[in-house]
C-alpha cells in the first residue's frame, strides 16, 4: 500500500501567463451548505415577438442513440494542462479588467465570498449561467474568462486547468459552450471536471444538444432565455456535489426494501415496459425503488442522477401529473423523450419515459394500474418506513464469521424505541473505529452508502468526508494502475481506506487513530455484510444496465 501523494499537479511543468490575478478575497468564506440560492426569484420575461424566434427547434421522438457525440467529445477534450505561478502576491482589486480599484457592484460582493464558483458561457463570451447571482451582471467577468480561453486556444489546444496560487480554474469546452469552475476547495481536477460534465449534462436534459445549432447559425446567440426558470435545477445539482456520492461514483443507489416489496414494484413496472414504455422508474427522493427498461434500452446512472435532480427540484411536478420533454444525454443527447411524471407522495414518484409524444393518456392509465399495485403491496408505505429507518449503519456491522442469512437492521433498535434517540450522541461509530463506508458494485452500477452517524453528523463534516472519498476515487481511477488496488490514507480527520477489485469498490472512513490491520479486517466484514443483505439494498436481476 502506498501513501497517496498530496498533489498530483504541482510537479507539472509550468507556463507563465500574465493574467488578471485571481483575488484571494474572492474565496475567503465557505458557503453554508444549507443555503440555497433563491431559485424562483428571477423570471426574465421572454421575447414577446415570437416564442420560436430563437430558432430553437430540437428533434423529437427519435430513439436512435448516436455516436456523433463521442467523436466530438474526443476532439474537444484533447486538451493540455497549464500551471500558472502567480507573478506577485494577489491583490484584492485587480482581477476585473477595467476595474483596477475595486468599486465592484453590490452583486459581486456576495459571490466573492465563496469558495467555489461555476460559470457557463458561450464561445463568444455571452454568459449562460453563473452560480451565485445574475449572470448578466457578471458579463465583465465572463469577458475575462473568455479572454483566458482564447489566449490558450490561440496557443494551440484548449486549456483545461489553470492554477493560480491555491485557486484552480478548470475549463470544459463542449462545442460552443464553455464551462468553468473556479475553486480553492482543493478538490482534484478530475472531480471538478466531472462536476462540469454533469452541469453540461443537466443543460442537455433541458435543451438537448441541438441547442448547439443555434450557435452555428448565430455565434452571438443568447441562450439564457431558453434556460428560463431553471436556476433551481442547477443550484440543486451543484448542492448535490457535496452530499450525493452518485455525482462522482457514476452509480445509483437503491432505497433499502424487503426483497418481495421491490419485486412487487418491479413486476408491475415490467408489465408497463412491455406495453411500449421505454423506461419505467420508481424512485424515492434520489433512491431507486425499482426500474425497468424496454428491451435493449439501457439507462446510464448519470442520466438517472440528472433526471432525478430535474424532477425533484422542479416544484411544479408535485402539484399534479405532468408530461414534459426531457433529454437523456447518455441515451441520446440529440433527441427529446417524453416523461410522464407523478408524485404519489412527497417523496415517492414515478417516471415513465417514452419516445412518442402522444402517449400521455396511455401513460396515465399505466400509472393508475401501477398505483393500484403499489398500494395493494404496501410499496408506498414500506418506502416511507425505509426512509424513516434508514439503511445500513456502521453500529450494526455484524461480527465475522456469519452463518445463515442476515437481514438489514436485524440487530437494530426499532426506530420508535426510546433507546434510539440516545444513540447519535453516545455513539462513536462501529467496530474498529469504522465511521462510514460506501460500497459500489461494478456489475450492478449501484452503490450503497452507510447512514451518517456520530461523529460525522454535520453537513460540513459529511461534505469533507465526501471530498476525501472523491480524492480517493480520482486517484484510484487514474490511468495506468492495475485492477486490484488498495489505498490507506491517514490524516488528522480520519483514516480513509479504499479497496478496488474487479467486482466492487469499497471506500471506508475510520477514526484517525484506527489500527490499520484491524481496519482492513473490518472492511472484509463490511463486504460480507453487504453480500448478506444484497437482496434488500440492491436492485438485482432485470438490470437494464448490465446487458
Amino acid at each position: 500500500m502506498s501513501e497517496m501523494s498530496s498533489s498530483e499537479h504541482d510537479s507539472e511543468s509550468s507556463i507563465l501567463l500574465h493574467l488578471p490575478p485571481l483575488s484571494q478575497s474572492l474565496f475567503d468564506a465557505e458557503p453554508s451548505d444549507l443555503q440555497q440560492p433563491n431559485g424562483s426569484a428571477a423570471r426574465p420575461s421572454s421575447d414577446p415577438s415570437s416564442p420560436t424566434s430563437s430558432g430553437y427547434a430540437p428533434e423529437r421522438g427519435s430513439s436512435t442513440a448516436t455516436s456523433v457525440s463521442h467523436v466530438e467529445e474526443v476532439l474537444s477534450n484533447e486538451i493540455q494542462e497549464i500551471t500558472i505561478h502567480d507573478p506577485q502576491p494577489l491583490s484584492h482589486s485587480s482581477w476585473l479588467p477595467g476595474k483596477r480599484h475595486g468599486d465592484e457592484d453590490d452583486a459581486s460582493i456576495s459571490w466573492r465570498k465563496r469558495k467555489k464558483h461555476f460559470f457557463v458561457l458561450s464561445h463568444s463570451g455571452k454568459p449562460i449561467y453563473s452560480r451565485y447571482g445574475d449572470e448578466h451582471k457578471l458579463a465583465g467577468f465572463s469577458a475575462t474568462l473568455q479572454a483566458i480561453i482564447s489566449f490558450v486556444e490561440n496557443g494551440g489546444d484548449h486549456v483545461k486547468l489553470v492554477r493560480a496560487g491555491k485557486h484552480q480554474v478548470v475549463f470544459l469546452v463542449k462545442g460552443p459552450i464553455y464551462l468553468v469552475c473556479i475553486s480553492c476547495t482543493e478538490e482534484p481536477y478530475e472531480s471538478l471536471r466531472g462536476q462540469l460534465e454533469i452541469i453540461h449534462g443537466q443543460m442537455i436534459v433541458i435543451l438537448t444538444k441541438s441547442v448547439n445549432r443555434c450557435f452555428e447559425k448565430n455565434p452571438k446567440f443568447d441562450m439564457t432565455p431558453l434556460l428560463g426558470g431553471t436556476d433551481i435545477v442547477f443550484s440543486s445539482l451543484i448542492h448535490s456535489f457535496s452530499w450525493n456520492p452518485a455525482t462522482f461514483l457514476h452509480a445509483y443507489t437503491c432505497l433499502p426494501l424487503a426483497y418481495a416489496t421491490r419485486q412487487a414494484a418491479g413486476a408491475i413496472l415490467q408489465d408497463v415496459a412491455d406495453s411500449g414504455v421505454l423506461f419505467a422508474i420508481l424512485m424515492c427522493r434520489h433512491k431507486v425503488i425499482s426500474l425497468v427498461g424496454a428491451q435493449k434500452a439501457s439507462l446510464h446512472p448519470d442520466d438517472m442522477l440528472l433526471l432525478a435532480n430535474f424532477v425533484m427540484s422542479s416544484e411544479s411536478f408535485r402539484t399534479s401529473e405532468a408530461f414534459s420533454p426531457v433529454c437523456l444525454p447518455r441515451y441520446n443527447a440529440l433527441a427529446f423523450l417524453y416523461a410522464y411524471i407523478h408524485f404519489f407522495d412527497d417523496d415517492t414518484y414515478l417516471m415513465l419515459l417514452t419516445t412518442s409524444s402522444d402517449s400521455f393518456y396511455h401513460l396515465k392509465d399505466c400509472r393508475i394500474g401501477i398505483e393500484a399495485v403499489l398500494l395493494k403491496s404496501n410499496v408506498l408505505s414500506e418506502a416511507q418506513r425505509s426512509l424513516l429507518d434508514g439503511g445500513m449503519r456502521v453500529e450494526d456491522l455484524p461480527p465475522l464469521p456469519r452463518s445463515g442469512s442476515s437481514h438489514l437492521g436485524q440487530h437494530r433498535v426499532p426506530s420508535d424505541s426510546p433507546e434510539r434517540s440516545r444513540e447519535p450522541d453516545c455513539g462513536v461509530g462501529g467496530a474498529a473505529g469504522l465511521w462510514h463506508f460506501i460500497y459500489r458494485s461494478i456489475y450492478l452500477d449501484q452503490y450503497i452508502s452507510s447512514e451518517f452517524s456520530s461523529p460525522i453528523n454535520t453537513p460540513k463534516q459529511q461534505k469533507r468526508l465526501y471530498r476525501g472519498y472523491q480524492k480517493l476515487f480520482a486517484s484510484m481511477h487514474d490511468k495506468g494502475i492495475g485492477p486490484h488496488k488498495t489505498q490507506f490514507r491517514r490524516d488528522e480527520n480520519y483514516v480513509l481506506l479504499c479497496w478496488v477489485t474487479q467486482d466492487f469498490e469499497l471506500y471506508a472512513a475510520f477514526d484517525p487513530l484506527a489500527d490499520k490491520a484491524l481496519a482492513i479486517k473490518t472492511c472484509n466484514r463490511v463486504c460480507q455484510w453487504v453480500k448478506d443483505v444484497e437482496n434488500e439494498i440492491f436492485l438485482l436481476g432485470a438490470s437494464p444496465f448490465s446487458w
Binding site: S45, P48, T319, F323, D358
Partner: protein
C-alpha cells in the same frame, strides 16, 4: 414547428360530447371539456387552475415544466355537470414549440396575460394568431387578463382586452387568482359561451 403528432383521439374533440364512460350513458347533461391554458411565463396560469381546482392560492411561484394535467368537475345551474380536463402549459420559451401537443385535442383554449405586463398581452396575441393558424377551426378561445387585483399597476386597459377579444371572436374576462375574483365565472361562462357559440354555428350552417 415540426411537432410530431397530437394526442390520440381517444376522447372526443367535440365540445361537450356526452360522457359515456362513467355511466353517463346518453345523458347529454354530463359534459367533458378539454381545456388548454396558454400564455407567457408568470402570468398566473397555474395559479388560475389551482384556484379553480383546489381553491388555493400559493404566492410562491412554481414555474411549470412541460405541462401539468388536472381535472375538475362542476355543476352548472341547470344541473348539467361539466368535467374539465385541463392542460396547464409552461409559458417558458423553450416549450413554445411543444404547444400543439397540448392544444390539438382541446375544445377550449384559455389565453392568459397579466394586466400589469404589456409584453404578456402581446404574447397573448401571438398565441391567438398561432391558434387561428394551426389550431382546430372550431376551438373556442377565451382571453383572460389575470392579476386584476393589481389595479394600481395596471398597464393593459380593460378596453384593449375587450376590443381585441371582440375582433377575434373570443370570450373575454379579467380575473384574479389571488382574490379568486371571476375564477369560477371564467370556467362556468366559457361553457355557456361555447354551447351558445356552437349552437349558433349549427344554426348558421
Amino acid at each position: 414547428m415540426g411537432c410530431g403528432s397530437s394526442f390520440p383521439d381517444r376522447d372526443s374533440r367535440q365540445f361537450g360530447r356526452p360522457n359515456t364512460e362513467n355511466g353517463g350513458g346518453q345523458d347529454a347533461r354530463n359534459l367533458r371539456v378539454k381545456l388548454v391554458l396558454l400564455g407567457d411565463s408568470g402570468v398566473g396560469k397555474s395559479c388560475i387552475v389551482l384556484r379553480f381546482v383546489r381553491g388555493q392560492f400559493d404566492a410562491t411561484s412554481k414555474v411549470t415544466v412541460g405541462a401539468s394535467f388536472l381535472s375538475q368537475t362542476i355543476a352548472l345551474q341547470d344541473s348539467t355537470t361539466v368535467k374539465f380536463e385541463i392542460w396547464d402549459t409552461a409559458g417558458q420559451e423553450r416549450y413554445a414549440a411543444l404547444a400543439p401537443l397540448y392544444y390539438r385535442g382541446a375544445a377550449v383554449a384559455v389565453i392568459v396575460y397579466d394586466i400589469t405586463s404589456p409584453e404578456s398581452f402581446s404574447k397573448a396575441q401571438y398565441w391567438v394568431k398561432e391558434l387561428q393558424k394551426h389550431g382546430s377551426p372550431d376551438i373556442v378561445m377565451a382571453l383572460v387578463g389575470n392579476k386584476a387585483d393589481l389595479q394600481e399597476k395596471r398597464e393593459v386597459a380593460v378596453q384593449d382586452g375587450t376590443d381585441y377579444a371582440e375582433k377575434n371572436g373570443m370570450f373575454f374576462i379579467e380575473t384574479s387568482a389571488k382574490t379568486a375574483d371571476n375564477i369560477n365565472e371564467l370556467f362556468e361562462d366559457i361553457v355557456d359561451y361555447a354551447t351558445s357559440k356552437l349552437h349558433h354555428d349549427v344554426l348558421a350552417a
